[in-house]
């Protein structure tokens, strides 16, 4: 090595560090996602209560299914390197959480917050958020000047000192296809790695792996949870609403063909409603409308409803969330429906 090597090495380090800061950030900051802002108020309180009740019922059902699967557990089916269908013993005191085809376990003392149940609150310490982190907006007032309510999940608790790494960070398991999460450290302003799982159906923030043994130990429990099933008798012909593994969705059954549509305007918008009289799914928030196949027929929405092909086996309908697929983009720009047209199309009743 020549004598000038240290100087060159220093220059290399400096040059690379500078160059790295020019790496492009996501094209779509959260502030450009108006549906993120309206997702809370859009849903009427009464509907929220109904959904919550349905979620409780479904959760009981899922637990029962899980118990049955646990009792009838066999050797896991290996597919493409991913082990699916495995159920392993949960460590004492740890709580298993199933969501959207993912099972993750949390240690004693950790909270599990379902963001579908309302505002997630601002306390992120030792918390596993399950669902779409769209409702952290109310944290903004308590955090003062931060311009973007949706960017930061890490060290969200304002009482956390900036030197404390890890434990102030929440984990988030979201269910949405193609979301582009961008995380920034609110304390230092540094941009953390972005984790996006296209087509995986779940989003898990992994940024804390090397820093926090507690978070790391939780993430090591991440598994594909068993596929979800429900009795065929519970899936009527036509379109019906269900909450399975914590995910609200519509099942459309036509004989033995069943498709599950995720109940949300993609990629992370408001809930949709099924209007049987017109045979469309609509979202009053933006005037989006989708036909019975989940294709876009109106609105600014970027793609059709995300869907999971379901399989009818004997007396049960089986849904594997690993097969979650994004809806097709519209072939051409279509104007949104007006509230009056939505009201007319959905008369006399709206099903959920």
């Amino acid at each position: 090595m020549r004598k000038d090597a240290p100087g060159l090495e220093d220059r290399l380090r400096a040059e690379l560090a500078t160059w790295a800061t020019e790496a492009p950030v996501s094209d779509r900051p959260w502030t450009d996602a108006p549906e993120m802002v309206v997702v809370g108020p859009v849903r009427p309180r009464r509907a929220a209560v109904a959904v919550r009740s349905a979620a409780v019922v479904a959760a009981v059902g899922v637990l029962a299914v899980g118990a049955v699967l646990a009792l009838s557990w066999r050797r896991p089916e290996t597919r493409g390197g991913v082990v699916s269908g495995s159920i392993r013993q949960v460590a004492p005191g740890w709580t298993p959480v199933d969501y959207a085809g993912v099972r993750i376990e949390v240690p004693p003392g950790w909270r599990v917050v379902d963001t579908e149940g309302g505002d997630a609150g601002c306390e992120a310490a030792d918390t596993l958020f399950v669902g779409v982190p769209a409702r952290f907006g109310s944290c903004v007032p308590s955090l003062g000047k931060m311009p973007d309510p949706h960017v930061t999940l890490q060290r969200l608790g304002p009482h956390r000192p900036p030197t404390e790494v890890g434990r102030g960070e929440g984990l988030v398991v979201g269910d949405l296809e193609g979301m582009r999460y961008r995380i920034e450290d609110r304390m230092t302003g540094e941009r953390a790695d972005t984790i996006v799982f296209e087509q995986a159906g779940v989003v898990v923030f992994l940024h804390s792996i090397p820093e926090d043994p507690a978070v790391s130990s939780i993430l090591k429990t991440l598994r594909r949870s068993p596929v979800v099933s429900l009795p065929t008798s519970e899936v009527r012909s036509g379109v019906t609403f269900h909450v399975l593994a914590g995910v609200p969705l519509f099942l459309r059954r036509d004989g033995d063909a069943v498709v599950a549509f995720i109940d949300r305007v993609p990629p992370f918008g408001a809930r949709v409603r099924w209007c049987p009289s017109a045979g469309v799914f609509v979202s009053p928030a933006e005037g989006d409308a989708f036909d019975a196949d989940g294709r876009v027929v109106a609105g600014p929405v970027v793609r059709g409803l995300d869907r999971v092909p379901a399989e009818v086996r004997a007396d049960e309908v089986v849904i594997d969330f690993a097969a979650l697929r994004a809806g097709p983009p519209p072939r051409a720009a279509v104007p949104p429906w007006s509230p009056a047209r939505i009201a007319a199309s959905c008369a006399p009743h709206v099903a959920r």
């Binding site: 090595m1 020549r2 000038d4 090597a5 100087g7 060159l8 090495e9 220059r11 290399l12 380090r13 040059e15 690379l16 560090a17 500078t18 160059w19 790295a20 800061t21 020019e22 790496a23 492009p24 996501s26 493409g80 390197g81 991913v82 082990v83 495995s86 790695d193 972005t194 984790i195 996006v196 799982f197 296209e198 087509q199 995986a200 779940v202 898990v204 992994l206 792996i209 090397p210 993430l219 991440l222 598994r223 594909r224």
Partner: protein
């Protein structure tokens, strides 16, 4: 990781997409992965080198002239880094940006330590010419 991919690709706008794919690869093999960070880094390195090969092939197919590395106009040194052969650039970035050891670079690149030493030596020789100019 996006920044790493950005450097490995010589400042290519596809860096973010490549990292996304790498994260997806980690997730799909989560049950089998013992070292997620190491696995992720190797996935990113592989994706970037594969991306470079694809880009080079497309460039040849279009009969275009020149390397066409995007974003490599910041300085002379940066231009030379960007114009290094892919494996040499990868080794340089992993050493001087990620601060990895020879063994860790070898793991990330899927080669042996002597090969890493050779890549670094040749890359530094090229870079030194610019510094001394």
């Amino acid at each position: 990781m996006v920044r790493l991919a950005w450097l490995l690709t010589g400042g290519d706008g596809a860096a973010e997409e490549l990292v996304q794919d790498a994260f997806l690869a980690v997730f799909r093999r989560w049950d089998d992965v013992r070292d997620p960070v190491g696995y992720l880094r190797r996935s990113v390195v592989n994706a970037c080198m594969s991306h470079h090969r694809d880009r080079a092939r497309r460039t040849r197919e279009r009969m275009l002239v020149g390397d066409g590395v995007v974003g490599a106009t910041g300085s002379d040194l940066r231009d030379v880094i960007a114009s290094l052969p892919t494996r040499q650039r990868t080794a340089i970035v992993l050493r001087y940006y990620e601060d990895l050891t020879d063994a860790e670079i070898a793991t990330a690149m899927g080669c042996r330590v002597p090969a890493v030493k050779s890549l670094l030596h040749r890359a530094l020789r090229s870079l030194r010419k610019v510094v001394e100019r």
